[in-house]
C-alpha cells in the first residue's frame, strides 16, 4: 500500500501563530486538489499553554485526526519536548534555535534541524511572524510548493505591510534552510495541481452556522462557552448581511428563554452552548416542549464533568441532553458525524423544530466543532423550508374557535403566531387543555384533569413515530455484510471510516453503523443492521458507553466489545484498528 497521507505538526505557545500557519498550509493544499484535515489543540489558557496544529494532507479522502507527523515544526521548548516522540521514523523535526534538544532525544531515524523561527524585533511581532518562518522551513524541508503557500499568505493578510513582511520572512527562512540543510528533509509525496472546482476548508462550527443561515435562522442568543462560542461569533459577524439579530445574554438561562420568546413570535432562532450552559438551559427545555414552541440548540460537548476541560474533546453529554428537564416529552437529538452533516442536519433541525413543535438539539463536540476538513460547496437547491402546521389568517378565520393545542393524530396542532388575526391564545408551562388553559383545579377542568394530563403527555409522544419516519436515523458505511460491525456516533465517524479502510487493507472486513439520531431512537433501523451483524464493536468517547446503554435500553442489544476513550483526546484510525485486531483475534 502506498503512502496514504502526509502529516504536519506545528507546535508552539499561543501567540506564535502555529494554528494560522497550519491553516495556510492546508489552504494551499486544498486549493491544489489535495484533501486536508486540520486539528487544533490548545489548553484553556490565553497564553503560555502549548498549541498544536496538526495538518494531514492526502490525494484521497481524509476524515480524521491521526497524530503521526512526517514533519514537526517546534517553535518552543515545550512544543519540542511534548511532540518529538510522535514523529514517524524517517521524519524531520525543525525547531527554533533556542530549543534545547539534549533533554529529550528524538526517536531513532528522525532528523533535527535547528531554524531561526522566533524572529527578532518587538516581542509580540517576533512571535507572530514566527508563523511565516515555520511555513518557510516547512516548504524548504518538504519541497511543498512555496508558490502555493505564498499565495495563501497573500490571501491571508489584507494589510500590505504585514503581507510583505510575512512574505519576506517566509522567503528568507526558506532560503536559509535550503542553503544549510542539503539532504535533510522529508519529501511531500503528492503532486499539487489547481483544484477544478472550489472547495472549502471548514469546521463543524462554520457548517452549523451556515446551515442555520440557510434555514432562515434570524435570531440567535447566547453566552460565550467553549467550544460553542464560534457559532455565535459567526452569526454576529454576518448578522447585518443576513438580516439576523444576535443578542448576547446575561446568562444561558436568559439566552434560551429569549429563543423561546422569538420562537413563540414565529422567528427561527438558534442557541449554542456547551455542557455547563446547557445545564442552565435545562428548565427551559421542558418549557419549550410543553408550550410547543420550536427550539434549536447546538450543544457542543467538551471535557467534563463540570467546568472540566474547556478546550478538550469528549462525547460524554449525550445523557444530559437526552434527559434534561423534569417530566417526559418528545425531543430530537442529532449528532452529526462530519461537517457536511453539521450543515445538512442543522438545516433539518430547523424544519423539524417547526414541523413538530419540539426542542431539537444538535450534538457536536470540541473536535468536530474546531477541526477543519475539505468540503465541496454545498448544494442547496434541494433544501426545502418546511414550517409544518404554521397556519395563516385565512385558515384561522375558517377554523374558529382556534385551539392552539388541539389533539390530533400526529400530536401536532396548528400554530398561530402573534400578529395574526384570529390566532390569539395562551401558551403556558403548565399542563393544559387544548386551548392552553391551565387544567389543575379550575372549575372548568376539574372533572377531567386526569384525562387532560395523560392526553398532553400522549400528544407529545405521538410525534415520535412521525419524526422517526422522516429522519435518516442511521447510516451504514462500508459493505452490507462484514466480519465486524463498528457502532459509533458523532465525530467518531471520521476515525471509524478511516479505520474501516485500514482494516480492509489488513484483510478484515468491517462496516460502520453510524447512529445519527439519538432521539427519537431509530431502534428498528438499528436492529435491521445489527441482527445481520456477525460481531460488533461499540466505540464512544466516554466512560459509561452512553449510546451503548441507550441501544440496549431500546433494543436489548449489547455490543460484543467496547472501545471507550475519555482521556480528552479524539479517536484515531490507528487506535481503532488496533482495537479491531484485538477483537477479531479473540
Amino acid at each position: 500500500m502506498g503512502k496514504r497521507d502526509f502529516v504536519v505538526l506545528f507546535g508552539g505557545e499561543a501567540g506564535y501563530g502555529v494554528m494560522s500557519a497550519g491553516m495556510m498550509i492546508a489552504k494551499a493544499a486544498v486549493r491544489n486538489s489535495m484533501q486536508a484535515v486540520v486539528v487544533n489543540e490548545y489548553p484553556s489558557l490565553i497564553k503560555g499553554g502549548l498549541n498544536n496544529c496538526l495538518v494531514r494532507i492526502s490525494d484521497s479522502p481524509l476524515t480524521s485526526f491521526e497524530e503521526t507527523p512526517d514533519i514537526l515544526g517546534a517553535v518552543s521548548q515545550q512544543a519540542y519536548e511534548l511532540n518529538v516522540a510522535k514523529v514517524r521514523p524517517g521524519g524531520v523535526v525543525f525547531h527554533d534555535v533556542g530549543v534545547k534538544t539534549d533533554k529529550v532525544l528524538p526517536p531513532a531515524g528522525v532528523t533535527l534541524v535547528p531554524v531561526q523561527l522566533v524572529q527578532t524585533g518587538s516581542a509580540d511581532m517576533a512571535k507572530v511572524m514566527a508563523n511565516s518562518a515555520v511555513m518557510g522551513a516547512f516548504c524548504a524541508l518538504t519541497d511543498f510548493s512555496a508558490e502555493a503557500v505564498k499565495a495563501a499568505i497573500t490571501g491571508e493578510f489584507a494589510n500590505p505591510v504585514v503581507q510583505t513582511k510575512n512574505l519576506e520572512i517566509f522567503e528568507h527562512t526558506w532560503q536559509t534552510v535550503k542553503a544549510a540543510q542539503g539532504a535533510a528533509g522529508v519529501k511531500f509525496p503528492f503532486a499539487l495541481q489547481p483544484s477544478p472546482s472550489p472547495r472549502m476548508l471548514l469546521t463543524g462550527t462554520d457548517a452549523v452556522a451556515m446551515g442555520a443561515l440557510q434555514a432562515g435562522c434570524r435570531f440567535a442568543a447566547g453566552y460565550p462557552m467553549t467550544p460553542a462560542t464560534g457559532v455565535l461569533v459567526y452569526l454576529a459577524d454576518h448578522a447585518v448581511e443576513y438580516g439576523v439579530v444576535f443578542k448576547q445574554a446575561e446568562d444561558e438561562i436568559a439566552a434560551v428563554n429569549m429563543l423561546i420568546g422569538a420562537g413563540f413570535a414565529g422567528v427561527r432562532a438558534l442557541g449554542a452552548t456547551s455542557g455547563g450552559g446547557f445545564s442552565l438551559m435545562t428548565e427551559a427545555v421542558g418549557f419549550a416542549a410543553i408550550a410547543e414552541v420550536p427550539l434549536v440548540i447546538l450543544m457542543a460537548q467538551r471535557g467534563g464533568p463540570s467546568t472540566g476541560l474547556p478546550t478538550r474533546t469528549m462525547q460524554a453529554d449525550l445523557n444530559q441532553v437526552l434527559y434534561a428537564s423534569q417530566g417526559e416529552f418528545a425531543r430530537v437529538i442529532v449528532a452529526p458525524g462530519d461537517v457536511e452533516e453539521c450543515f445538512t442536519e442543522t438545516f433539518r433541525a430547523f424544519n423539524l423544530a417547526e414541523k413538530y413543535q419540539v426542542p431539537c438539539f444538535i450534538l457536536t463536540d470540541k473536535y468536530l466543532a474546531d477541526s477543519s476538513v475539505t468540503q465541496p460547496f454545498f448544494d442547496t437547491k434541494e433544501m426545502k423550508i418546511e414550517r409544518g402546521k404554521l397556519v395563516d389568517e385565512a385558515w384561522l378565520a375558517s377554523h374558529a374557535p382556534y385551539l392552539r393545542y388541539r389533539l390530533t393524530e400526529d400530536g401536532v396542532s396548528e400554530r398561530a403566531i402573534p400578529g395574526q388575526v384570529g390566532g390569539r391564545h395562551v401558551a403556558t408551562s403548565y399542563t393544559h387543555g387544548e386551548d392552553g388553559f391551565y387544567s389543575s383545579g379550575h372549575k372548568e377542568y376539574a372533572a377531567n384533569e386526569q384525562e387532560i394530563t395523560a392526553a398532553g403527555i400522549d400528544k407529545s409522544f405521538a410525534k415520535l413515530p412521525h419524526i422517526l419516519a422522516e429522519v435518516p436515523g442511521i447510516k451504514l458505511h462500508g459493505p452490507a455484510q462484514a466480519d465486524l460491525t463498528l457502532i459509533a456516533w458523532g465525530s467518531t465517524k471520521g476515525a471509524a471510516l478511516e479505520a474501516m479502510e485500514l482494516a480492509k487493507e489488513k484483510g478484515i472486513s468491517v462496516n460502520l453503523l453510524q447512529i445519527l439520531y439519538a432521539a427519537p431512537f431509530p431502534a428498528a433501523s438499528v436492529m435491521e443492521v445489527l441482527t445481520k451483524a456477525k460481531r460488533t464493536l461499540l466505540i464512544e468517547g466516554n466512560h459509561t458507553a452512553q449510546m451503548g446503554v441507550l441501544l440496549r435500553a431500546n433494543t436489548g442489544f449489547a455490543a460484543d466489545a467496547q472501545y471507550l476513550k475519555y482521556d480528552s483526546k479524539p479517536f484515531t484510525p490507528s487506535g481503532i484498528v488496533r482495537k479491531i485486531q484485538e477483537v477479531m483475534s479473540k
Binding site: 476548508l201 420568546g261 454545498f378 402573534p418 400578529g419 388553559f437 391551565y438 383545579g441
Partner: protein, 287 residues
C-alpha cells in the same frame, strides 16, 4: 373596545379580596384606553398568583417559567418589535429568580412594560418571604420571633439604579391611578417598570389594604416634583415607611435596543422570509 373585551372566558381562582383583581381590572381598562390591538399585543407572565393573570386576559399570551419573563419578552420583542409587549409577574418572580434578568433588561432598554404585582410575599407557594418582604416579616420561611432579617429590595430604587427609563409605583387599591399609570407605561417608548403595591389577603397580613391606605400618597401632590430628575427620584424613591409615595418617579427618553440595531430598521425579523438565503458568499470566504 371596552374593558370587558379584554377578558378571557375563565373563572379566576384568586382569593376573594386579592389585590390581583384590582390589577386585572386596571389592565383591562388601560387596554381599552389605549385601544390596544389584541392581535398585536403579547402579554408575558411568569409563575405565581400574579402570573395567572394571563389566564384571564385575551391577547396573545405566554405564561413562562417562574422568574423568566424578561428574557422571553426580550425574545418576543426582538423577533417582532411592532408588537406591544406587556409583562406581568410577582415580586418573587421578578426580584428573586428574575433579578439578574431584570437588571440586564433595564440596561438594554427595550420597549417593554413591566408590571410587578408586589405583594411582598410568595403567594402561590403559600406564604414565604419575598425579596421585598419587610424586615421582621414573619412567614413560613422566616418564622417568629426573628422574622425576615434581609433588607428588602425597593423596586423603584433598584429600577432607577439600573437604568429603567420609566419608573413608577402604583397601588392595586387605586383603580384610577393604576389604570393611568399603566397607560403611561405602555405609551412610554422604552423599558417601563411599575411597582404595583398589591395586598395579599391570605398570606400577607401586614401589608393590607388598610396598611397601604394609611401610607400611600401621590407624587404629584409634592410641590415641584420633577420626573426627569434622577437624583431626586432616587431620594424620594427611598421613602418607605409611614409614607409611601406612588406615581411616576422618573422618565427619560433613551434609544431603545430595537432602535439601535440596524437589522431592525425596515422590517421585523418575523416579517423577513424564512428561506431563500444565499450562502454562496459564505462558502467562498472559506475556499
Amino acid at each position: 373596545m371596552s374593558a370587558k373585551d379584554f377578558a378571557s372566558a375563565y373563572t379566576s381562582t384568586w382569593c376573594p379580596g386579592c389585590g390581583n383583581y384590582g390589577i386585572l381590572n386596571a389592565l383591562k381598562k388601560a387596554c381599552a384606553v389605549l385601544d390596544l390591538d389584541l392581535e398585536q399585543t403579547v402579554q408575558v407572565t411568569g409563575i405565581g398568583c400574579a402570573a395567572k393573570i394571563a389566564q384571564y386576559t385575551n391577547m396573545y399570551r405566554i405564561e413562562t417559567l417562574h422568574g423568566r419573563t424578561m428574557p422571553v419578552a426580550t425574545g418576543v420583542k426582538l423577533a417582532n418589535h411592532h408588537l406591544t409587549v406587556i409583562v406581568d409577574g410577582g415580586d418573587g418572580d421578578g426580584m428573586g429568580l428574575g433579578m439578574g434578568h431584570f437588571v440586564h433588561t433595564a440596561r438594554r432598554n427595550l420597549d417593554i412594560s413591566y408590571f410587578i404585582h408586589n405583594n411582598q410575599v410568595y403567594g402561590l407557594t403559600k406564604g414565604q418571604t419575598s425579596p421585598t418582604s419587610e424586615l421582621g416579616a414573619v412567614t413560613k420561611f422566616s418564622p417568629a420571633p426573628l422574622g425576615n432579617v434581609e433588607r428588602p429590595i425597593n423596586i423603584v430604587r433598584l429600577a432607577l439604579s439600573v437604568g429603567a427609563t420609566f419608573v413608577a409605583r402604583s397601588y392595586a387599591g387605586d383603580l384610577t391611578h393604576l389604570t393611568e399609570t399603566m397607560v403611561a407605561a405602555v405609551r412610554h417608548k422604552g423599558f417601563s417598570v411599575v411597582d404595583i403595591l398589591q395586598p395579599c389577603v391570605s398570606f400577607n397580613k401586614l401589608n393590607s389594604y388598610e396598611w397601604y391606605q394609611k401610607r400611600v400618597y401621590k407624587l404629584d401632590t409634592l410641590d415641584g416634583y420633577d420626573s426627569s430628575n434622577l437624583s431626586q427620584a432616587l431620594q424620594i424613591g427611598a421613602e418607605w415607611g409611614e409614607r409611601i409615595p406612588i406615581g411616576l418617579f422618573y422618565q427619560e427618553k433613551r434609544m431603545t435596543l430595537e432602535e439601535s440595531i440596524p437589522q431592525l430598521k425596515d422590517k421585523t425579523l418575523a416579517e423577513r422570509p424564512v428561506g431563500g438565503a444565499d450562502i454562496t458568499a459564505l462558502m467562498q470566504e472559506l475556499a
